[in-house]
Symmetry: C2
Subunit: 491 residues, 2 copies
């Protein structure tokens, strides 16, 4: 074997372990017997240990040096270094302490949330933040420590770049939201009780129509919907169905299908390598949001979907039309909870977190101040203050797990999606007709060709530029929303 073959073999060993870990995790979330948790944790810890040994292999350094060439070869070299040399920056003691601290912190977060008492979480969160800052120091950064953490989730992105996108976006969003809320029907959508098995059938038909290949995947139920990759031909999605929340279930499924389509169409020639992975979390999220919001909450989509819904629930939806379902699926509400937020308000929730995270990590604010900072920023954005911590500063799990720098990828996903959409519409002038007739596969083909099949051979910045011809610009997103508001409410 030459050096490149050795690298491919080592990568293959790593991704095989990731696949096995994915099955253990998938099973745990979808149907593992409740008392099996202890054994399962032990099984996963063992696989995780094997994985760490491979990731930490000192051979990587010399092997990676052997890669020469250009284009995808260079991307391979860069990605390998990112994945395998990054670990070297963090001392083993630091890593094991990080696991210990965040595991305790997660428990404390659960407890604090249940008891509505931030002070239970505070000492743990202080330790986590301390370690997140140390992590930034170990990793190194330009301008500000927070950049080191952002880069972990979205390679190359910086806080000042995000600020340049988020501040004008916020300025445009706040008045737009007020206008929409003022004009929309004030009643929240309600379709009564809809059998879950029938909803699932409807979802499966839609998945098939979208081009999600069930010979290479499956749809299951879990408390929190997710997508997981157990192999190049085994990409599974889950959803969460309530019999009295039709849209929540439907958009969860479409969202995860967006992730699943991306994973199902990654470049097979780079199977089980760093290049064969998704480009970034932000680009991944762009795909889920693209399908969920841009397609799933569009007027032509409901032209198609209303027929499908009526065929499964003829009674419950008898008085609905494509127009009424289009409006209802775009109901806007100033809620406290990020994960329940609509397309208009969602990014405000992210901006709040970005603002706070940046201050905390850069040392411009103290963890103790978080509840107050949260509430005052929330008041500024939404005009109200959360009435309890679980609705505010304690709502997300991320900080307890040490995932500082993660939240911005959600908004990046929305911005990428809008910019991709603008390009796709030009490339496919009769897009409206395609969507109305359920011909989603032409849209999927375009995404596969320009995004999915590239894997991680581009950075997110270079991918979006190569797709759209321009650097990331928040205006695609705001224009898209304004246009939608116009068609909805003649604003």
């Amino acid at each position: 074997m030459d050096d490149l073959q050795i690298i491919r073999k080592k990568e293959n060993d790593i991704y095989r372990l990731e696949e096995i870990l994915a099955l253990l995790g998938w099973d745990q979330e979808t149907g593992m017997p409740e008392q099996a948790l202890e054994d399962r944790s032990d099984q996963m810890a063992w696989v995780q240990q094997k994985l760490s040994e491979q990731l930490m292999d000192p051979e990587w350094e010399t092997l990676i040096e052997k890669i020469e060439g250009e284009g995808e070869q260079i991307a391979w070299k860069k990605n390998l270094a990112r994945r395998f040399l990054l670990n070297k920056a963090l001392p083993p003691d630091f890593l094991s302490e990080f696991v210990r601290i965040t595991s305790l912190s997660r428990e404390a977060w659960l407890d604090a949330r249940k008891k509505e008492d931030f002070s239970i979480f505070l000492p743990h969160l202080q330790k986590v933040v301390h370690m997140a800052r140390e992590r930034a120091e170990y990793l190194g950064f330009e301008e500000e420590p927070y950049n080191a953490l952002l880069d972990l989730y979205e390679p190359g992105v910086t806080a000042s770049e995000l600020e340049g996108l988020f501040i004008p976006l916020e300025k445009d969003l706040v008045p737009l939201i007020d206008e929409v809320i003022e004009r929309q029907d004030s009643k929240e959508p309600d379709f009564g009780i809809l059998a879950r098995e029938k909803q699932k059938l409807l979802h499966l038909n839609l998945l098939n129509q979208m081009g999600y290949d069930t010979r290479k995947g499956r749809l299951d139920f879990s408390v929190h919907p997710f997508t997981t990759t157990l192999g190049a031909c085994d990409v599974r999605i889950t959803t969460h169905l309530d019999s009295n929340d039709f849209f929540n279930g439907l958009f969860s499924t479409i969202h995860e299908a967006g992730h699943g389509l991306y994973e199902q169409n990654l470049p097979s020639q780079w199977k089980r390598t760093v290049n064969g992975q998704a480009c970034s979390l932000g680009i991944h999220e762009s795909q889920s949001r693209f399908w969920e919001n841009i397609i799933g909450r569009s007027r032509p989509f409901w032209e198609y979907m209303t027929k499908a819904v009526l065929s499964v629930f003829p009674g419950e939806f008898s008085s609905e039309t494509p127009e009424s379902l289009y409006r209802k699926s775009n109901y806007v509400k100033k809620g406290f909870i990020r994960i329940d937020a609509d397309e208009f308000t969602y990014n405000l929730h992210v901006m709040l977190r970005f603002d706070l995270e940046r201050k905390i990590i850069n040392g411009d604010a103290d963890v103790k101040e978080l509840p107050d900072l949260w509430n005052s920023k929330f008041k500024e954005l939404f005009g109200v203050i959360p009435h309890k911590p679980s609705m505010g500063v304690l709502q997300d799990i991320h900080w307890s797990l040490g995932d500082w720098g993660y939240f911005p990828t959600y908004t990046l996903g929305n911005l990428y999606a809008a910019q991709i959409w603008d390009t796709l519409k030009r490339a496919l002038p009769d897009w409206e007709n395609h969507i109305e007739t359920g011909n989603f596969k032409t849209i999927l083909s375009w995404l596969v060709e320009h995004i999915h099949s590239k894997g991680a051979t581009h950075s997110p910045g270079s991918l979006i530029t190569s797709v759209s011809g321009k650097a990331l610009d928040y205006r695609y997103f705001i224009n898209y929303l304004k246009e939608k508001a116009e068609t909805l409410y003649v604003i």
Copy 2:
């Protein structure tokens, strides 16, 4: 760590791998996307490889020598030697060749069966038999080569011992079957179309009643029903439900539940060790057959079960009574297929295979003669000749996989079960009342105390003697069947 702790740790590592392998296999059989097979085989091969490395570890020899003591310690030592030193008897080249040959042979068997042409299978089967004989030579034996193979599946059992059980059993069975068939209602049971989801509900209720703990297990569907252990608290069973074959599905579920109850109640103090496993394949089968036949096809069971069935299928079973369902569940038929056989004819199918296997392995017959030997023995036992190879010599997968010596464990299971039942009835004089009222847990408790909780600390022979006070005797089984025939048809 002292030596014993080292052994426990090494065993723990081995059984953890077995658990991971069990999940990979369970998922493959119950719902893996069809195109994922190649990746899954690769994942399983990797885990299997890790497992082989552990099993083959040369350290075992010296470590096992360190165990001293008596009782369960001695069993531990013996079981460890059996599991880990047995491998040493077989050269690595032999083992890998065995895998290669049987894998090809399995494909040839599938093809031969489809084309109804034994000659396609013959050259492969000759190689498999050649290797099975070699295996016997490597392992060593007393009296005859076939004994070495029998011992792999049922420790300590010999061909002459089996002959001593099977010959008188056959002599009693053949006329009994004729009598039953003559007297029973000639119409096969038929309940029309029964929704599978409703059947599953009925099965789940029964599982719960039997004491199968769904917090430590689950019920799924697969083409061939099986039981698999993914952890001490994760024992899963599968069944196969046809909407028009009520009994087949029900008895498949009860059969697997019998295996599952055994696995769920193995000794926790010996978790992830050789002593914490089932005693033998025969004893395992005794548990599944006990629940399936002795309980599930008993008169008092139908006193309980008829109510349960009527509550789920009031229309379809409206004209049934406990007595009618008792009779129908004991319908006897001289069929060609072993796995479809009833309690009366099943063992004849096994005896035929035992007879042929023994001749072939001991060199008293040639593989070429198998179809003729099969047909003439079948004619002797059942009075007819299979009209095509798939109904005869090509029906089972076992021989193609190299599992020569396995079949007798099925009949041993039936004999053990009847002897256990005789003892249990004496210990629980009001057993009839317990079963009629669905109070199966008293029966389970007895099985747990006397069999399940012993794990593999006894050989099958010593377990059956310690439970019943006597060595294995075929007459318990034949008396049990004669009694049943009497209550059914006043023979």
